[in-house]
């Protein structure tokens, strides 16, 4: 069943021979000794010309014969019972071809933005106009829109009955989720536990406690959620969807309409971003697939529903907010942390999943006693959904902030405190490398100098770390074919969320078959190309790349048989492959000659990849897969008069297994960082507590980073050979955004000498923090 192979694994100069059990049929994994020619190179995206010329077709762009436009009426109230709905006005409206009720009299609407009814019309403006002809009477009910408000006794209750957990493929495997019994609006979750943190805290000689808050953050992908459904027959549909999980959409559409999955074809040629929110056919807070399918069935025409930017903010998911109290126990003499206790509450609106990641429980493994308790708090707001490293950025912000504040209290360097409690050798290496590259000590001295002189402009540096796992697995099947004309084709029904998986697929196939990249054609983005994998959990690359290698190796094995026959029965093992072709001794066969010898049209091989078989040097807690380490350093400038913070520099050190494509990899890291900068400094969904509606459901009031907000980014790739799969690849999408906001917060703390304990770090909060610090220091001076 399996074979033991010896691989050279490790990182940097820390390489060692490790015996890894590899399933039979698996090629020998690429380890640290293997030098690849095409894989790893900074190859421009193969679909770049389509994107820059406007020819790439996104779901929003797809037009088919007879297509109708759908639109959805949404509840304007955070909590209301529908007294009556009259759809007749919409049915008679110009251009309307179908109307579909999504709620009925007696239904209780529990967030502003919830589905009421949908219409399909010939023109989009007709569909919108028809919505206004729908008469709905509501009986308003009390609501609660703030997380703290929802936790109070007597707060209006959001869910009267138990709530079913909804998970998507973008959720972190095994992450803690709300599971306890509902108490009012609070639903306690599973806890992460080691030892007895409460007892250890009582026994600690020094302690630290603070409460940290993070905001609700929206995905705001540039392409909004949307899809088009066309009924091909009574039991078959084609769906064009803006999704990061083609097969997830297929299964959900099949379930919603009672179809066989094989009768559902899903196409996502190009996708304008997802970040975790585009996993299902329906949007997290809006049944768009159900509506489009029903409308299409009634109208007997394809129906497209593309949400607008406002709907995108209201009902397509978000990153939950959080209120986290962190308690640390420490030994003031040694600086050792003896206990960590985190109590976290967060609101995923009407949904579940307000976790806080694993920084506290799984990074500082030398801390003997740890307890992380988290709970969902329900509010009358649009549901949250997985968002790039669900839970982790908020948990990293609280935990990494607390470490820095404790270090300040104990008069220790925050890097030293981290090193003293973290056993992951790669993260330790990253911290040491970062300390040196970032001129950490010099800059900390400069920050202290500016603080002591009380200058207007302050500077500071901070760092924070991340943990993630390699969750790649055997979901996808890749087909590699070599045709008689020598062209290579690679097929898989995976979608490209933007990471550039198609380019990586071409590189891996070109590497194995030793063909020029231009001769490899890649077909993705269609369920007809065979099982893919959802782009969540940073698992696209490590699910697909090894499968491509395996399929390409299988095709090559078949070609080897052909070569062996053509070369007068030479043993397959003795064949020498080059970029020109194949040979044995002085006999050679060019690639063209070899391919001409193919019987039939092509050699076709299909393959998957097995479950992870190696996790060197350290595994992800609870999983036999590699733990992905990361560390980021931030430098900020703070104008203490206005409170405006600018992040001027980020140094990102990330473990990324074996690099498949340095250009797309760096781009992913850049993108993760800029998302983190926005999370740290500006992005925030604002819900009016008095009205229960979102005040900035647009991009005018919800600001993401622009080009001038972009810090100077330096990226250090700390490659690791972990022997996890045949290519040694793993993902980076999520790790890259986890520590950014925390590092920035720590840098602001360094600049001010006081910590801003709430995200985003707005100018107002900076001034309040400075004022509070000034008051407390003048009080303590007075008391001396």
């Amino acid at each position: 069943m399996s074979t033991k192979v010896t691989l050279s694994l490790g990182y940097g100069k820390q390489l060692s021979k490790q015996k890894i059990e590899v399933p039979d049929g698996e090629p020998k994994p690429w380890d640290a000794t293997v030098k690849t020619k095409v894989v790893g190179r900074a190859v421009p995206r193969i679909d770049g010309p389509l994107k820059v010329s406007g020819e790439a077709r996104y779901t929003h762009d797809v037009r088919v014969e007879g297509m109708l436009h759908g639109a959805i009426l949404r509840s304007p109230h955070p909590c209301a019972v529908i007294q009556s709905i009259d759809l007749s006005g919409a049915e008679k409206a110009p251009g309307v071809r179908a109307v579909h009720a999504m709620a009925k009299a007696g239904d209780r609407m529990i967030f502003a933005g919830q589905d009421i009814a949908a219409v399909a019309a010939e023109r989009p403006e007709q569909a919108r106009a028809a919505l206004e002809a729908i008469a709905v009477e509501y009986e308003l009910q009390p609501f609660v829109a703030s997380t703290r408000g929802a936790m109070r006794d007597g707060a209006p209750v959001v869910h009267a009955a138990a709530v079913e957990e909804k998970r998507t493929g973008a959720d972190e495997p095994g992450a803690e989720k709300a599971a306890g019994r509902l108490q009012g609006n609070i639903r306690p979750g599973r806890s992460q536990k080691r030892g007895d943190a409460k007892r250890a805290l009582r026994a600690a000689k020094a302690s630290f406690e603070a409460t940290y808050e993070t905001q609700c953050h929206t995905h705001s992908a540039l392409e909004t959620h949307g899809l088009m459904i066309r009924w091909e027959a009574k039991d078959a549909v084609t769906v064009w969807a803006s999704t990061q999980a083609i097969f997830g959409v297929r299964d959900e559409v099949a379930a919603v309409f009672g179809l066989e999955p094989a009768k559902v074809r899903v196409i996502t040629e190009f996708l304008g971003g997802g970040f975790g929110a585009k996993f299902g056919a329906n949007a997290p807070g809006s049944a768009i697939a159900k509506a489009a399918g029903e409308l299409a069935r009634t109208a007997k025409a394809p129906v497209k529903i593309m949400l607008d930017r406002q709907e995108e903010h209201l009902c397509t998911g978000n990153r939950p907010d959080s209120i986290q109290t962190v308690r640390l126990g420490a030994n003031p003499k040694t600086g050792a942390i003896t206990a960590i206790h985190v109590t976290a509450h967060g609101s995923a609106g009407i949904g579940t999943g307000a976790g806080v990641g694993r920084n506290a429980s799984a990074i500082y493994t030398k801390v003997p006693d740890v307890l992380v308790e988290s709970a969902d708090v329900f509010t009358h707001a649009g549901p949250a959904v997985a968002f790039r490293a669900p839970g982790h950025p908020q948990g990293a912000f609280a935990m990494e902030s607390a470490i820095d504040e404790l270090a300040r209290q104990l008069g220790r360097d925050p890097i030293d405190v981290r090193l003293a409690h973290d056993t992951h050798p790669v993260r330790r290496w990253q911290l040491e490398l970062g300390r040196e590259r970032f001129a950490w000590n010099e800059r900390r001295r400069e920050a202290a100098d500016l603080r002591s002189r009380n200058t207007r402009i302050r500077r500071g540096v901070g760092c924070a770390v991340s943990i993630w796992g390699d969750f790649g697995g055997p979901d996808a099947r890749v087909t590699v074919s070599v045709a008689r004309d020598g062209k290579v084709a690679v097929k898989c029904g995976v979608q490209d969320i933007g990471g550039g998986i198609g380019t990586v697929m071409a590189q891996v196939a070109a590497e194995v078959l030793q063909r020029p990249l231009a001769d490899v054609r890649v077909d993705i983005g269609d369920s007809a190309f065979g099982p893919g994998v959802g782009s969540g959990g940073s698992k696209t690359t490590s699910s697909i790349a090894p499968a491509v290698r395996n399929a390409a190796e299988a095709a090559k094995a078949e070609l080897a048989m052909i070569a062996s026959r053509a070369l007068e029965g030479a043993s397959v093992k003795r064949l020498k492959w080059t970029e020109k072709g194949v040979g044995v001794g002085r006999q050679t066969l060019s690639w063209a000659e070899l391919c001409k010898a193919i019987e039939g049209e092509a050699v076709v091989a299909t393959a998957s990849r097995p479950r992870t078989y190696g996790a060197f040097p350290k595994s992800f807690p609870g999983y036999p897969t590699p733990q992905i380490a990361g560390a980021q350093f931030a430098a900020v400038e703070v104008d203490t008069w206005t409170g405006v913070v600018r992040c001027s520099e980020i140094l990102a050190l990330h473990d990324c297994g074996r690099v498949m494509n340095e250009m797309t990899l760096r781009s992913q890291i850049n993108g993760g960082i800029i998302l983190g900068v926005g999370y740290a400094l500006m992005e925030q969904r604002v819900l009016d507590p008095g009205l229960g509606v979102v005040l900035n459901a647009n991009l005018e009031g919800y600001k993401a980073c622009g080009i001038k907000d972009c810090p100077d980014i330096s990226i250090v790739l700390t490659e690791v050979a972990s022997g996890n799969n045949s290519t040694g690849s793993y993902g980076i999408g999520e790790p890259a955004t986890i520590p950014t906001a925390a590092a920035i917060a720590n840098a602001v703390g360094d600049a001010l000498g006081a910590h801003v304990r709430s995200l985003p770090i707005t100018p107002g909060k900076v001034l309040e923090t400075l004022e509070a610090a000034a008051n407390s220091s003048s009080n303590s001076e007075a008391s001396k």
Binding site: R309, V644, A774
Partner: protein
């Protein structure tokens, strides 16, 4: 359109260029927000400006079709020098050699990730590639000097912008034989009169019209005939209402083609700015004549918006958080209002009569803004916002003071703010209190509390009332200190201008 003629017929005059293009299958131009915030819909307009034709990038989502009838336009699909045939297959498309240099750089340096924002970036970069002001290096030699601000109105959620910046920096000047460059030296006909009429708008909309007169007299006549008609200049605010709040008007009068509204007179005593001049053209035509406005321009929304937005539009809009009113108030600007009855002049401070209300009478339009040329001793503009560029101010402030050089006393002061009241305002009591006082830290410190109490701002998602109130004084204190330093503070204040945190509190030891 992309070198071919397009017929426009039977459309509602409220139709945006974006919807129009996408309806016709030109779907390379994307919709990301329909409010001018993301730039995914940017298209190129070849516009006749004072010094000749110029490529400008504009948001198609905020441009009505009626505004660009007769114009030469290019979408992302029309930028390739030799439009190639689309080869079959997903990973194909035009070959790299067929692409425009800007597109090629974006491919080769990885400036596109998910790619949804890419067409907009490419269009903004294309316009920048041919921008006259970008074609000289700081030393005056030919060479491309990219201004990252040229893409500040384009939002990217994937790449972190770095590869885009690298793509911009990698480009050389346009070649001599570049056809797009050659087009700039060919004549371009000015936009003429045009109109769009849509009868029997479904849903009882009646008849809707858009008139685009080509003279001021024509515009005033139309306005006299129908005083309720809605005037549209750049449309960067009005079309947001069309898109987001489904606003419709029976009659729109587009001021695009009225030359009298696009004049700039640089007189010895004062500068007269046509109200219909877009901010980008105004910026380069002023050539630094009003330094305070040069501080304002880069902070005013984004290049994509400024390419359409007019100074007049910003004033008539009368938003309390508009950026130009505080600057113009500080400069004692006056406005010229015109109707068929004639013209009248009004100090700007009297133009704003209430929340989003102005002194414009029915039948009247804002013709020009007059700014006295007299340079104040010190004048600066400040905008406090979360994002560096393309953000709405939490507080905007513009200050101008005149000092008597002998005594260093204030002879005249203007302290103007946005975002602190229902209209743009001046802190007139403090202005008066400053006159005759020495321009010193003591004076400023003494008046700061009064300044803080001058207005009672509101709390909203951009900032709390308390924060805004603090900024009333802080921005002024910052202004004072910058006048002392003799220039704007760099990112790292040198020790001589290291300043205490305000409010001052006792310090142990010497303060540097």
């Amino acid at each position: 359109m992309n070198g071919e003629s397009l017929e426009v017929e039977g459309i509602d005059p409220h139709t945006t260029l974006l919807d129009f293009l996408r309806d016709r299958g030109l779907v390379g131009t994307k919709e990301g927000c329909a409010e001018g915030e993301c730039g995914a819909c940017a298209v190129v307009v070849l516009r006749l400006e004072h010094e000749g034709p110029r490529y400008v990038a504009v948001n198609a989502c905020l441009t009505l079709v009626g505004s660009v009838l007769g114009a030469e336009l290019r979408t992302v699909e029309g930028l390739s020098p030799q439009p190639g045939s689309r080869s079959a297959g997903r990973a194909a498309g035009p070959s790299v050699a067929e692409l425009h240099p800007v597109q090629r750089a974006m491919v080769e340096l990885g400036g596109s990730q998910c790619g949804y924002c890419t067409p907009g970036f490419v269009v903004s970069m294309f316009a920048e590639y041919y921008r006259r002001e970008a074609s000289l290096t700081p030393s005056g030699e030919p060479g491309l000097r990219w201004d990252p601000e040229s893409v500040a109105g384009n939002l990217c959620r994937c790449t972190g912008y770095r590869p885009i910046r690298e793509a911009m920096r990698s480009l050389p000047l346009a070649a001599e034989d570049d056809g797009f460059r050659a087009r700039l030296s060919q004549p371009l006909a000015p936009l003429g009169e045009a109109s769009l009429v849509r009868e029997d708008v479904p849903g009882g909309g009646g008849t809707r019209r858009l008139h685009r007169p080509a003279s001021l007299a024509g515009a005033l006549a139309l306005l006299a005939e129908e005083p309720a008609a809605k005037l549209i200049a750049g449309g960067t605010d009005l079309v947001v209402e069309v898109n987001q709040r489904d606003r419709r008007w029976p009659t729109l009068i587009a001021l695009e083609a009225v030359d009298e509204l696009r004049t700039l007179e640089l007189g010895g005593e004062e500068i007269r700015i046509g109200a219909g001049l877009n901010l980008s053209e105004l910026e380069h035509r002023l050539g630094g004549a009003l330094p305070l406005l040069d501080e304002l321009f880069p902070l005013f929304s984004s290049r994509l918006i400024r390419n359409r937005a007019t100074l007049g539009g910003n004033l008539v809009n009368a938003s309390p958080i508009g950026d130009s009113p505080p600057a113009l108030l500080a400069l004692d600007a006056r406005v010229v209002l015109a109707s068929q009855r004639g013209e009248r002049e009004l100090p700007l401070v009297e133009f704003f009569t209430g929340y989003r209300q102005t002194a414009l009478a029915p039948g009247e339009l804002l013709r020009a803004v007059i700014v006295p040329r007299r340079a104040p001793t010190h004048a600066h503009f400040y905008k406090v916002s979360k994002r560096v560029l393309d953000d709405i101010s939490t507080v905007a402030a513009a200050f101008a003071v005149d000092l008597d050089p002998a005594s260093n006393t204030v002879t005249r002061a203007r302290l103007a703010y946005g975002g602190v009241a229902a209209t743009p305002v001046r802190a007139q009591a403090v202005e008066q209190a400053l006159v005759g006082r020495p321009w010193t830290a003591e004076t400023v410190a003494e008046l700061a509390p009064q300044l803080r109490e001058s207005f009672t701002p509101l709390s909203d998602h951009r900032g709390s009332a308390a924060y805004r109130q603090a900024m009333l004084a802080r921005t002024f204190e910052k202004f004072f200190h910058e006048t002392q330093a003799g220039r704007r503070l760099g990112p790292q204040p040198p020790p001589s201008v290291v300043l205490p945190v305000l409010p001052p509190r006792p310090q142990k030891g010497a303060n540097a």
